[in-house]
């Protein structure tokens, strides 16, 4: 018990509910003046470890709306997903500084201001956008109106007072070009000189690029390096600029060539058919002695044919003998063709074109030769008609004139096979009969076939027959 004048006492509480309503408290509306104008800044957070900037997708609270700790404030699109930003404080959302739909907002930029409940949120002071954002705000002692043109102490740059901080890529670039890191302006966190800063410094000093790199020791830093090795003298000159390991395509080390439409279409088509058609490969070496002999014999009679023409003829003849290879893919199965049209691949400036030699099996080598020459010329001039390059059941691609020994080609759909022909090369062979050495002219051909139509077994038999036809051209008279 106590008298009225006694201000002390012991309070006995019978029951306290979990949340006591505010009505029981003495209601006091006087607040300290210094609290009024210190809005809480909401900054753009790093919602994923690799995030540098984000987009604000949607604000979930309006200006003037009350916000409780844990409430969702806005949706932010990171480099990976859309994540909701929650508020850590209670208050009223006073001002949205960055509207929804803004893109590429950097980490740390203030995006909104929160004030405490009960304050006039309309009168909130908006900090100027270019002021550096130190975390400290002087709360209780600040006067009512915070300085409108603030100069809060900017974060001191460690380059002036502390050790130089270089990223490994930046250090490599500056070392190789013999540049002074102190001249670079750091833009990374806590005064880090990033690779971009190093490259900017490089751009600004083009005179240094032309001189050969001397062993310029790296700029001294307060922290001792554990393994300090200056670049060896006489290392390679800087034209073109060195690329950085792991990042070969750094700016300044490549030029972009825009792709023409034809190239783009070729690229797209090639990707599609290389990935959708199951290719099977088979190679065989052909002894070209007989063909060479035949060719030179014909040349004596003023008939000019090339080795390629013989190859075309041999392929056509083999296809006639093995019609199950002369198929196309009709969507769900092989579709045997009744005529043999061979496409030959011609390299032009605009890419690869495949004009067709029609009915090759029934033409002689001379006629094939004439056709091939005419078509090649038309292809180079870009004057091929559609029926001259559409269709065909088998392709031949010869890169022998470039000295290529062997290669594998990509099938032209809807064809089943393509034969890749290399150059004739000389090889020594031991003759069984009399144990003497003999030079052979071998030529490697590789057949790429559509595994659904011409599997390895069939391809091998085809190649064997083809080789026999080519090595003994007299067989072609039988067809």
């Amino acid at each position: 018990m106590s008298t009225a004048g006694d201000s002390r006492g012991v309070l006995r509480v019978a029951r306290i509910p979990a949340r006591v309503t505010l009505a029981l408290q003495p209601l006091v509306l006087c607040r300290l003046a210094s609290q009024l104008h210190n809005p809480i800044k909401v900054q753009m957070p790093a919602l994923s470890p690799t995030m540098e900037e984000g987009n604000i997708v949607k604000w979930l609270k309006k200006e003037g709306e009350a916000v409780a700790a844990g409430d969702a404030l806005c949706d932010i699109e990171t480099d990976k997903a859309v994540v909701t930003l929650e508020s850590n404080d209670d208050g009223v959302l006073a001002k949205i500084l960055i509207e929804e739909g803004s893109r590429n907002v950097r980490l740390g930029t203030p995006i909104a201001l929160l004030v405490e409940e009960g304050q006039d949120w309309k009168q909130v002071e908006i900090p100027p956008p270019d002021a550096p954002v130190p975390p400290a705000t002087h709360a209780a002692a600040a006067p009512v109106a915070p300085p409108a043109a603030p100069s809060p102490p900017p974060l001191p740059k460690p380059t002036t007072s502390g050790p130089l901080r270089l990223s490994p890529a930046a250090r490599h670039i500056l070392d190789t070009h013999g540049l002074d890191p102190k001249l670079a302006t750091p833009t990374g966190p806590r005064g880090l000189i990033t690779k971009e800063d190093a490259l900017n410094l490089l751009k600004k000093s083009p005179a240094l690029e032309a001189t050969p790199v001397m062993a310029a020791p790296p700029a001294p830093s307060a922290a001792p390096r554990l393994a300090a090795a200056p670049p060896p003298p006489g290392s390679r000159p800087n034209i073109p600029p060195l690329s950085v390991p792991g990042k070969p395509g750094a700016p300044g080390t490549f030029t972009e060539i825009p792709a023409s439409n034809v190239r783009r279409v070729i690229a797209q088509k090639l990707t599609q058919l290389k990935t959708t058609i199951p290719h099977a490969y088979a190679s065989v070496d052909c002894d070209m002695a007989a063909v060479m002999q035949l060719r030179s014999d014909l040349a004596k009679e003023q008939i000019k044919v090339s080795v390629n023409d013989f190859i075309i003829k041999a392929a056509a003849v083999t296809l006639k003998e093995m019609p199950e290879v002369n198929v196309t893919w009709s969507g769900d199965g092989p579709h045997e063709l009744d005529s043999i049209h061979i496409s030959i691949a011609v390299a032009t400036d605009n890419g690869l074109i495949t004009p067709i030699i029609k009915d090759a099996a029934n033409k002689g080598v001379q006629e094939i030769s004439a056709n091939a020459k005419a078509l090649a010329q038309k292809a180079q001039d870009g004057k091929l008609l559609p029926e001259e390059y559409e269709g065909g059941s088998f392709s031949i691609f010869n890169l022998g004139m470039f000295g290529v020994i062997g290669f594998s080609a990509v099938i032209n759909p809807p064809q089943a096979c393509i034969l890749a022909v290399g150059t004739a090369r000389s090889e020594l062979r031991l003759r069984e009969e009399d144990q003497t050495l003999q030079t052979q002219q071998l030529m490697t051909v590789t057949l790429s076939s559509d595994g659904r139509l011409v599997d390895d077994g069939l391809a091998s038999r085809f190649l064997d027959k083809f080789r026999v036809n080519l090595e003994q051209p007299q067989h072609m008279a039988l067809a």
């Binding site: 018990m1 106590s2 009225a4 006694d6 201000s7 002390r8 006492g9 012991v10 309070l11 006995r12 509480v13 019978a14 029951r15 306290i16 979990a18 949340r19 006591v20 029981l24 408290q25 003495p26 209601l27 006091v28 509306l29 006087c30 607040r31 300290l32 609290q35 900054q43 957070p45 790093a46 919602l47 470890p49 409780a68 700790a69 844990g70 409430d71 969702a72 994540v83 909701t84 850590n88 404080d89 980490l107 740390g108 130190p134 975390p135 400290a136 705000t137 002087h138 709360a139 209780a140 974060l155 001191p156 460690p158 502390g162 966190p189 307060a222 922290a223 001792p224 554990l226 393994a227």
Partner: protein, 389 residues
């Protein structure tokens, strides 16, 4: 129902109807009050902690201050992490402040405490300053572990961290209790673990040895309902963690009420100091953030659930309401404390951001407790580093 035995009406109504306060002296506040606290479920115990707790004004303000500091410190760590000033692991403790503060209120600074990686709150209650904690999180030389430990390796006086491996600290805690028993110094060891670690095998090995040798160890399970993202129903066959000690007595405590935690820990400490052996406590609590900073925390629970806990059982709000309803403090006083704490945490964050990192000479130091400079193997057998001490 509240009976106010003092009436000192110093409130005036101004002419416009606004209420104005004339200065109130601290002598107007109630110096002490008794509150009812929830009854604790008991396992293998006849009597449990008392049903009423006495709270003085000073104690109340101290608990409020500590809890609010831990809360703001954790939120500031969240903010700094989102600005990429803190990197790596960061497991935040906001929502669970009553556990740390209640336990600390019941033990003495000479008692021992060891916990898991959600340790920032305990680091503070065991005596490390906010500045040192935040600087350790940012990895600067002003940090409590000189910037070399980070979030999960902070230590203090009779505080053994800060342990990254789940459940690894429980055998260590039993060992510390063994040391207390061996040295006969009447100290106890409080060993904390979470609901996720409660199913680890080494805990039961520790229980066995502690019970066998009657070690003065309080095993406390902080059950925040989710082990990373797995709710307790999906993780444990038996979710009564206070009963998991089997032959060890257990108490289940409301971990959001700081007074309940304090009384239960006092009871447990007395039990251990009397030589009766170990005791298990389960603190039912809740964390507002996700498991760590890479966990948004809303993929396995709804935002509504978090908001509900925040509004109904937030530990700081509970204490604040108690203080205000029993007239132990005024709203402005608490607001002043809030502002002061905010400033303290801001200053600490500023320090943590601007402090320099430890220099490279420190790389190999502090390997042994007491040794002259020695040679240390670097990243490959032919790289040699020198430690300064």
């Amino acid at each position: 129902v509240v009976e106010l035995l003092t009436t000192d009406g110093l409130w005036l109504r101004g002419s416009s109807g606004a209420r104005v306060v004339v200065s109130r002296s601290f002598a107007d506040f109630t110096p002490q009050a008794t509150f009812e606290i929830k009854k604790c479920d008991l396992h293998r115990l006849e009597d449990g902690p008392p049903l009423e707790a006495e709270l003085t004004r000073d104690q109340a303000l101290q608990y409020y201050r500590t809890m609010q500091t831990v809360r703001r410190m954790e939120l500031k760590a969240d903010q700094l992490y989102k600005q990429k000033i803190i990197r790596g692991f960061c497991h935040l403790y906001d929502g669970q402040e009553a556990c740390a503060v209640g336990i600390e209120a019941a033990i003495t600074p000479s008692d021992h405490l060891i916990t898991s990686y959600r340790a920032h709150g305990y680091t503070y209650t065991r005596g490390v300053s906010v500045k040192a904690i935040l600087a350790e999180l940012t990895g600067r030389k002003g940090g409590v572990a000189k910037g070399k430990g980070g979030s999960m390796h902070m230590y203090g006086h009779h505080f053994y961290g800060g342990n990254g491996i789940v459940g690894a600290q429980v055998p260590l805690g039993a060992g510390i209790a063994l040391a207390c028993q061996y040295q006969g110094n009447n100290q106890i060891c409080v060993t904390l673990y979470g609901d996720g670690a409660a199913n680890q095998g080494q805990l039961f090995e520790s229980f066995n040895m502690a019970a066998l040798w009657k070690l003065p160890c309080i095993f406390i399970c902080e059950n925040n309902k989710y082990g990373m993202g797995t709710s307790v129903e999906r993780a444990s066959a038996c979710t009564d963690y206070y009963k998991r000690g089997d032959y060890i007595p257990g108490i289940k405590v409301d971990g959001m009420d700081v007074l309940c935690v304090r009384e239960a820990t006092k009871f447990a400490a007395d039990y251990c100091r009397a030589g009766k052996g170990p005791i298990v406590m389960e603190l039912e609590t809740y964390r507002y953030h996700g498991h760590s900073m890479s966990d948004p925390g809303v993929s396995y629970r709804t935002r509504e659930e978090i908001q509900e806990v925040r509004s109904k059982s937030d530990p700081i709000s509970l204490l604040k309401d108690r203080m205000l309803s029993s007239n132990m403090a005024s709203v402005e006083e608490l607001k002043e404390i809030d502002i002061a704490i905010r400033k303290e945490v801001e200053d600490a964050a500023q320090f943590a951001t601007l402090d320099p990192e430890p220099s490279l000479e420190e790389l190999c130091s502090h390997i042994y407790q007491n040794s002259p400079p020695l040679e240390v193997r670097g990243t490959h057998p032919w790289a040699k580093l020198k430690s300064s001490y």
